[in-house]
Subunit: 242 residues, 2 copies
Amino acid sequence: MTYCVAMRLDAGLMFASDTRTNAGVDHIASHGKMHIFEVPGQRLIVLLSAGNLATTQSVVSLLRQRLGRDAVNLHNVATLYDAAQLVGSTLKEVVARDASEQQSQGVDFGANFIVGGQIQGEAPRLFHVYPQGNFIEASGDTPYLQIGESKYGKPIIDRVIRPDTPLAEAAKCTLISFDSTIRSNLSVGLPIDMLIYNAGSFAPAKPHRVDGDDPYFNKLRKGWSEGLRRVFARLPDADWFD
Amino acid sequence: MTYCVAMRLDAGLMFASDTRTNAGVDHIASHGKMHIFEVPGQRLIVLLSAGNLATTQSVVSLLRQRLGRDAVNLHNVATLYDAAQLVGSTLKEVVARDASEQQSQGVDFGANFIVGGQIQGEAPRLFHVYPQGNFIEASGDTPYLQIGESKYGKPIIDRVIRPDTPLAEAAKCTLISFDSTIRSNLSVGLPIDMLIYNAGSFAPAKPHRVDGDDPYFNKLRKGWSEGLRRVFARLPDADWFD
């Protein structure tokens, strides 16, 4: 499996993805799931992917080799809505090509994508593209999207994230959400790729990779774990069962 | 859906289950999912159920109406292992009866049960009975079992529960686990049924129902939420994105 989160906040966008892929427990590998398409000064589009690795890699490869070649590509679509639609149609194209009825043998060829970024003329936007190729957009009511093993790490995000949360705090919350997920689920693993984008900056993307030696991440894990235990220990026990 | 947790600790057993059942979002009702079979002084067997409500109700009804009537029933099985096996075989019987091939129309007739308790001559034991009727037992390495919507509330249990955790603390952790689940998932809802059993006591079971007005639960939710935010606020931000 996979765990990816993205947030569309007042201050900008935050993206994070783990790197573990597995086909059964004896075929585990690391593959980046964050894919950046950018024209600095003009547009940034970030894809996070979850699902069948053959499908997600094909979708990203096709999107990349069509840049500057096809009439419509991620470097010239006018809006992020159009970018989400292009990812969705490419996803449908790949699944239709690979999942022939005779040979699919029960394999799930599906994939989910998060597509976010900013194109000149628009505010930052964020979409979730479903395996069927259709998509939804994050809004002020729900400023974040998750794909993959999303449940373990959802409660902390629900408690902390509001549209006005600063980006650095969003990154902190996201790393805690990953920590909870990694502790409880083997199929999500380090390193984590993170990217912060300040709204309107159109600056070159500088993703940061967080591995097991990362001093900040380790301090955060330890501080969070100890803090939780402290809060837990101070809360009173019930008197129902005396 | 449903959320149920049970723990087998050195001090005894802890059981908890929510009460929400739903078939689609417009058919929501409350049904207890904790079913107690006891002979005070001699045995206590607790079932927690998740899955198809027709199946789980039928299994419990059959187990109950066979008490004192069938040669083998929950009031006379010699071990908790035998109790788990009886629940499993009754589950298979009900599914085989109801899920006829012509009329099942894609409905999932499956159900999961947690079966725990103590029978004179044994230590307390705890089992998870799968929809297939087979089962696993909780051990010192993994002293808890969950069924239903288990992922949201798993991280806090993984962080806190050890075999030597006292029962009152286990109940506190369980309520926090429910709080996280209820906040993030509509299909799990109050009230929560809880039962604590002190190892070797064979005392009459006194379950406690926690509803939305429960002062302790509300204090716990508030204290936990505020404590988490405090810990979160005190942790430093990363300096990667300056």
